[in-house]
């Protein structure tokens, strides 16, 4: 899993720094990101990794598993592991009356659903604007 979030975090500064940029790269899937908000922070995952963005799903909890694993959901017969990004990133829990949204991503032949607050647009990010993750951020 750490890999998925790694992709995510590395995409994070890029996504955040590139609002409204790169209309010229419309068909450039390499540099397109699905953006979403987690606790007020805009993050993104490469559009190629995203399988779908379904409606809020009922999630079967998996006690005993790591806390960031919210549970499993049934996506048309496919079992998908839901990862609570707020927990994973050490952020406070979402208000109880708010439903998380799902961003289902594929990683190494498996599907994961990232639980996010809100899903944004697909945005283009030019490769030139990508900057490495500042090394003051810890490795995950």
């Amino acid at each position: 899993m750490s890999n998925v979030t790694a992709t995510l975090k590395s995409a994070d500064p890029a996504a955040a720094s590139s609002n409204g940029d790169g209309i010229a790269h419309q068909l450039d899937y390499e540099n397109q990101y699905v953006s979403f908000w987690v606790d007020g922070q805009l993050l993104g995952v490469p559009v190629n990794a995203v399988q779908e963005v379904p409606n809020p799903q009922s999630i079967a909890p998996t006690p005993k598993a790591r806390t960031e694993i919210a549970g499993l959901l049934n996506l048309r017969g496919q079992i998908v592991t839901a990862v609570n990004l707020r927990k994973r990133m050490g952020l406070p829990d979402l208000d109880e009356d708010q439903d998380s949204m799902n961003v289902v991503v594929r990683h190494e032949e498996e599907s994961y659903s990232l639980l996010v607050d809100e899903v944004g647009e697909v945005i283009n990010v030019s490769t030139e604007t990508l900057e490495p993750v500042p090394h003051t951020l810890d490795s995950h």
């Binding site: 899993m1 598993a65 499993l72 079992i79």
Partner: protein, 622 residues
């Protein structure tokens, strides 16, 4: 999981050739059309359907497709078609085989069934089209009027159906006279279909594989007190077996439901290795046939789960791995894994730890007793203790339980209320030892460091880095009930093998011998003893019970005498049966001595003597 899936085309690869050969042999013109070869199936399933599939293609080609002349006459193209198609359909793979032949002649099927005695004449008229078709699957049915080299040898569709059903699939047959027939096989994607018990804890459902479930015990609310406690662990006496209990909501870290005394208790008795374990679940639903789906990478390392599944209503539930859950409970898991690796799961090995019950004997002295000797722990209100003669008793389970104070006197000023009592019992006899406070249960290798001169104390051992007196349960038992047993120096590393099916005597002998400095291996069954001797374990003396369920002491002694490695090792019989009739037989079987249960001093004297002899005679102590 992924690697187990293979395209169904692998099982089909030989079919075109089969059909080509068939058309040559039969002189028919047959074309095989295949589609959906890429449909993936579990390899085991694939292997299982290979032969039935071949058989059915043969059937279609041989029985179904007519000869070119007949086809021409019927206005059909001369080339007959057999279509093979595979596709996914809701968790299943459907394989259909269709031919455009003559269809199944239901009249002939019926006639044949009647002549084979499968249906009576009277019933024959009432059968529907589909019912007639299903006759084909009955054992001993074959309609081919001529037995050809390709089919119609009586190994019919019943075999096909049996092999499909074995992997959880179904076969359906359809036929329209003159137009053709079709077979539809529906098989599960994988063989991972299990029957599971669906339970609920804290509003979440879980599946428990039925395979591990021994029985369900429902304890009515008023019988709740039958759940007893040994320290913090709950146990339940189920048909004279002590069943350790765990709460599903606790082991799964779910919100701790307030214990509702009004509710019945559901105990699921599960088998973990050699042990049984009772799991208390708030709610038990039904059993369901479920398809086990593997859990994702993130959940693989969670021992409590075996997989996951989607129920009929679309809910995802986790399938519990009972042995994984049990492994969180040290004892059960340790013995369960022992059971996997070797057969001496029940051996109280000499280097293994003994569970000891620690209690406060008053006056700030901590004493201990091997837990295996303890039957129950009870608390009685002081007011319920009664005097009977010079003895103290308490009414307990419709009987009188003789009580003895640990420190010899009763009625000190600071006696606890309620009074904690350690109950020892064997058979129908019990006695209670009144202690100041039950403290703990610990696992420690019991080594008596100092022999005791005080009555009732075996000696002193170092437990939890504190000197702790180990009590001599015999002393108290005899005081409380002199007829209980018609009724105790350093020996280096002499090894004694004790075989007795009663854990009580095993522990008694073990305690007695260990306190004398012997190293003791105590086993429940002779077979376990044979196993470890065959693995090269050597002993100086063997002490064996005579009456044991699986193999009696006589056979065991005889076996010992036939083995070079154990011949010459003295065997002592320790029995409660009548010595007059049994002793001669025991001596004949190869026992050196015959002792009655249980006089520990006599046993120790005998073993001292025998060990001395062995050293003098042969030095057979390897």
């Amino acid at each position: 999981m992924k690697t187990r899936m293979q395209p169904i085309g692998n099982a089909w690869s030989k079919l075109p050739r089969l059909v080509r050969d068939l058309s040559q042999v039969t002189g028919k013109q047959i074309e095989l059309e295949m589609s959906g070869e890429e449909t993936e199936l579990d390899r085991t399933v694939l292997d299982a359907i290979k032969d039935p599939l071949t058989h059915m293609i043969r059937n279609s080609a041989d029985h179904g497709i007519e000869s070119p002349e007949k086809r021409r006459a019927a206005g059909k193209p001369e080339i007959g078609k057999v279509k093979l198609h595979a596709f996914h359909e809701g968790g299943h793979v459907v394989i259909s085989i269709e031919d455009d032949g003559a269809g199944i002649n239901t009249e002939r099927v019926l006639r044949k069934a009647v002549s084979n005695g499968l249906v009576s004449d009277a019933d024959a008229g009432k059968l529907s089209h589909n019912e007639i078709l299903s006759l084909i699957f009955r054992p001993g049915f074959s309609t081919a009027e001529t037995v050809s080299s390709v089919s119609g040898r009586g190994v019919g569709m019943d075999v096909v159906r049996t092999s499909i059903e074995r992997i959880g699939g179904t076969v359906d047959l359809s036929s329209t006279a003159g137009v053709g027939s079709g077979v539809r096989i529906k098989i599960p994607l994988t063989l991972a279909i299990i029957s599971a018990l669906v339970v609920e804890a804290d509003g979440e459902s879980f599946g428990i594989p039925q395979l591990g479930v021994v029985e369900l015990v429902r304890l009515a609310a008023e019988d709740r007190d039958r759940i007893e406690r040994i320290h913090d662990n709950e146990v339940f006496r189920l048909r004279d077996r002590l069943l350790p209990l765990i709460h599903l909501d606790q082991v799964m870290d779910l919100a701790d439901n307030e214990e509702d005394d009004e509710k019945d208790v559901n105990i699921i008795v599960v088998q973990v290795g050699e042990e049984q374990l009772g799991m208390i679940v708030p709610e038990v639903f039904d059993t369901e046939e479920i398809v086990v789906k593997p859990v994702g990478k993130l959940l693989k390392d969670v021992a409590a789960y075996q997989g996951t599944t989607i129920l009929g209503d679309g809910r995802v539930i986790m399938i519990l791995d009972v042995s994984g859950i049990a492994s969180e409970f040290g004892n059960v898991a340790a013995s369960a894994s022992d059971a996997d690796s070797s057969s001496d799961a029940n051996a109280d090995r000499d280097d293994s730890a003994t569970s000891l019950l620690l209690f406060d004997a008053g006056g700030e002295t901590t004493m201990s007793v091997p837990l295996s000797l303890v039957a129950r722990l009870e608390e009685f209100p002081r007011s319920s203790l009664e005097q009977s003669g010079d003895k103290l008793v308490v009414q307990y389970r419709g009987d009188l339980l003789p009580l003895l104070p640990i420190n010899g006197q009763f009625g000190g000023g600071e006696s606890p209320d309620p009074q904690p009592v350690i109950v020892f019992s064997e058979g129908n006899q019990s006695m209670g030892l009144m202690v100041h406070e039950i403290q703990d249960i610990i696992e420690e290798r019991l080594i008596i460091r100092m022999q005791s001169q005080r009555p009732g104390i075996l000696g002193t051992a170092i437990i939890n880095e504190n000197a702790t007196d180990v009590i001599d349960t015999q002393h108290y038992i005899i005081q409380a009930n002199p007829e209980w047993f018609a009724t105790r120096e350093d020996h280096g590393t002499r090894r004694v093998l004790v075989v007795d099916d009663s854990i009580f005597f095993r522990q008694l002998v073990r305690t007695a011998l260990e306190s004398e400095g012997y190293r003791v291996v105590a086993l429940e069954r002779p077979q376990e003893a044979i196993d470890i001797i065959e693995r090269g374990e050597r002993f100086d003396v063997v002490v064996s019970d005579i009456e044991m369920p699986s193999m009696d002491g006589f056979s065991f002694a005889k076996w010992l005498k036939t083995r070079p490695e154990s011949d010459g090792v003295p065997v002592v019989a320790l029995s409660s049966v009548n010595p007059l009739t049994t002793e001669p037989r025991a001596l004949e079987a190869g026992f050196e001595r015959f002792l009655t249960k249980f006089d520990s001093q006599q046993l120790i004297d005998t073993i001292d003597q025998l060990c001395g002899e062995v050293t003098l005679v042969a030095g057979a102590t390897a």
